[in-house]
Amino acid sequence: MARKILLEHLNVPGIETLEVFRKMGGYQAVEKVLKTMSPDDVTEEVKKSGLRGRGGAGFPAGMKWSFIDKKSEKPRYLVCNADESEPGTFKDRYLMEKIPHSLIEGMIVSSYALGAKTSYIYIRGEYFYVLRILEKAIAEAYEAGFLGKNILGTDYSLDLHVQIGAGAYICGEETALLESLEGKRGNPRMKPPFPAISGLYASPTVVNNVETIAAVPHIVNMTGDEYAKIGVGRSTGTKLISASGHINKPGVYEIEMGLPVEEFIYSDEYCGGIKNGKRLKALIAGGSSVPILPEHLITKTANGDARLMTYESLSDGGFVSGTMLGSGGFIVMDETTCIVRNTWTLARFYHHESCGQCSPCREGTGWMEKVLHRIENGHGKMSDVDLLVDIAKKIEGNTICPLGDAAAWPIASAIRHFREEFEYHVKYPEKVKDPKHFFYAPFVSEKMNASIA
């Protein structure tokens, strides 16, 4: 069995309660940092651990913390990003639902490191039932003296609140999240200034993902150096992967960084292989925003090396033949999948979620969705395929926030790797009239057939 850190005690009955959580070693890190470490010591350990942001961007967490403006006289804030909304990603919900105290302990330790006296967990509106679980756990933590005034008899005091969202993917972008937390529309802010200088209420703020924060107490307990030994190279520690799609065992898995992708898909310990004995066709490895990979680039890189579950190995080959670890939303597609249809639903998602503030995203996402809808339903033209590539190119990099890129990449990569399938929809409109067109007879590449013959 692979090493588990975040989910080690997942199956212990009552682990959602403070009592059982403490019996399993919970809240030891709070004790350790408040009584034996300075805030800078904690930041130093996180830096040493090599922990990278688990929300998708993979930015080193310790470095992010060190940017916080300590000269400012304003209060500092830690805000946990629990606005998990990236299609394919459901690990934060799982962690908060099953072991809520792991996040709360992480919030206390991290808030101490940052010098925050008030911290917030911003959770997506649809997770209302998880909000209740967190609120209950927070009440327990207050009761036990881990939150509130003079925690464990020290000088350190902290208030922790959960804020509920109301349905907006864009609020997972950290500055949109802060706007939303201030009771406004979730319009991303222009950067600079970065939140570390001017974030929540124009005060120095750090925004971290749930999984990132939950990892911190473990790093404190085992030391950053030990944590850094897990994994491969700059991909240290363990990662929660949300596995979905056409696999036998969908769910959340904790993996050690460096696990081969092939093992993750086919081993019974993880996804358990493709459902119904079908063949693997494509993979979205890190949530809907990352480039899709065709079968031949999933388990091996373009150079023929085994593809590993690390930031580096998944992005090997750049956008030409690689993808990204992203948020760990692992969506597996079998041979019955229509790539055009899948791409269209993702395009519809980004169109629906664009905040509408800047023109390329506001107008471009809707345009791409409409063109894809036409192609999928047999009303496309050959020139539409290149049109999509061009629209994606004109959005990418030109928007206020990364949603524009997130909308452009899946489309650009789907066409890069599956162009023939898009063209098939244009060439044979009558064959794609049935929405399940590849369900009974999977798409077969004419080019590949020709080359074999």
Partner: protein, 326 residues
């Protein structure tokens, strides 16, 4: 002071200046177009993306280029920064894209639009747009909304620059006007159509870069290029009283604020001056208004710039001449 180079032209500007304003200090072709930024409205800018430029050198201290194109209106210059605007093909390509995005859902009803002839989107389209559209889908439309007696809202023409909401926020005491809904359904609205009724609300018309907000009292009276702009003033307790009268014969068809060469108002004017003083006898006429922009009002034609060929030496000469003169 910071030394910054824009399109090969070196200049020194006060610290904290944005790239766009640095370019405006020199003027001419190196100035990026701006559809949402408005220097007199706090918080405006960054949204339309027409002013994107390339920063090929961040600063003297850190010469690395910026990884993406940046909005020149909200990016501050650094000492030693090197910026490419019209000398960068990436910038021109991105700008072409932005113009296309702004136009795909625009009704293109210029023949019946009162803004035609003094429309920033029209000018931008002529300069950077395509002659044909690649957009085959149905254009977005909004339900008509009545926002009072003086201002006409044509939401279909709106490009969501947010300028009018800043006017409502910053010039008037009660904001009843804002942006509702999300994404490409977002619209300027007073929701349940609450009338916009306060002394400075008329300035929304002047800050609107397109024909989304127009003067109801001028509606369909005349094409702007058939009217004669005259500088005029009056004693006004609420504002400076300095305006432009748009006349036809001896009739005052419209009153607006005075705009500078970047289309920005020099001063905001009150609704009384704008909507209620339509007799020449209400005003002291100063003389004809010079319209500086490339506009049909002054020139009666547009210069087509299908192929923008950049001769930077030419620009440098032009700018140098202008600087020497001024």
């Amino acid at each position: 002071m910071a030394k910054v180079t824009i399109d090969g032209l070196e200049m020194e500007v006060p610290d904290g200046t944005s790239i766009l304003n640095a370019a405006r200090m020199v003027g001419g072709d190196i100035v990026p177009p701006a559809m949402c930024y408005y220097s007199k409205l706090k918080g405006s800018g960054g949204k339309c993306r027409t002013c994107l430029v390339k920063v090929s050198q961040g600063s003297a201290k850190d010469p690395r280029p910026m990884p993406k194109l940046v909005p020149s209106c909200s990016t501050t210059v650094q000492d030693g920064m090197v910026v490419e605007n019209i000398t960068s093909l990436d910038v021109l390509e991105a700008r072409k894209g932005v113009v296309e995005f702004l136009l795909i859902n625009h009704p293109l009803d210029c023949p019946v639009c009162d803004q035609a002839g003094e429309c920033d989107l029209q000018n931008l389209g002529y300069k950077h747009g395509l002659a044909k559209t690649r957009y085959e889908e149905e254009r977005r439309t909004f339900e008509k909304a009545d926002i009072g007696d003086n201002i006409k809202l044509h939401m279909n023409r709106c490009i969501l620059c947010y300028r009018c909401t800043y006017v409502a926020d910053q010039l008037t005491d009660c904001r009843s006007h804002g942006v509702i809904n999300r994404g490409d359904h977002a619209e300027i609205s007073t929701y349940i159509s609450k009338a916009i009724d306060n002394d400075f609300s008329g300035n929304m018309i002047d800050v609107c870069p397109v024909g989304a907000l127009t003067d109801k009292t001028f509606r369909f009276s005349s094409r702007v290029w058939f009217t004669k702009p005259m500088d005029a003033h009056r004693d006004c307790k609420k504002c400076s009283g300095k305006v432009v009268l748009w006349e036809k014969g001896n009739e005052v068809l419209r009153v607006t604020g005075r705009k500078d060469k970047y289309g920005e108002l020099e001063e905001f004017i009150c609704n009384e001056c704008r909507f209620e003083k339509k007799n020449t006898s209400d005003w002291v006429i100063e003389g004809p208004r010079h319209i500086d922009k490339h506009s049909v009002i002054s020139q009666n034609h547009y210069e087509l710039l299908n192929n923008i060929k950049v001769d930077i030496v030419k620009y440098q000469k032009q700018v140098a001449e202008r600087v020497n003169k001024g």
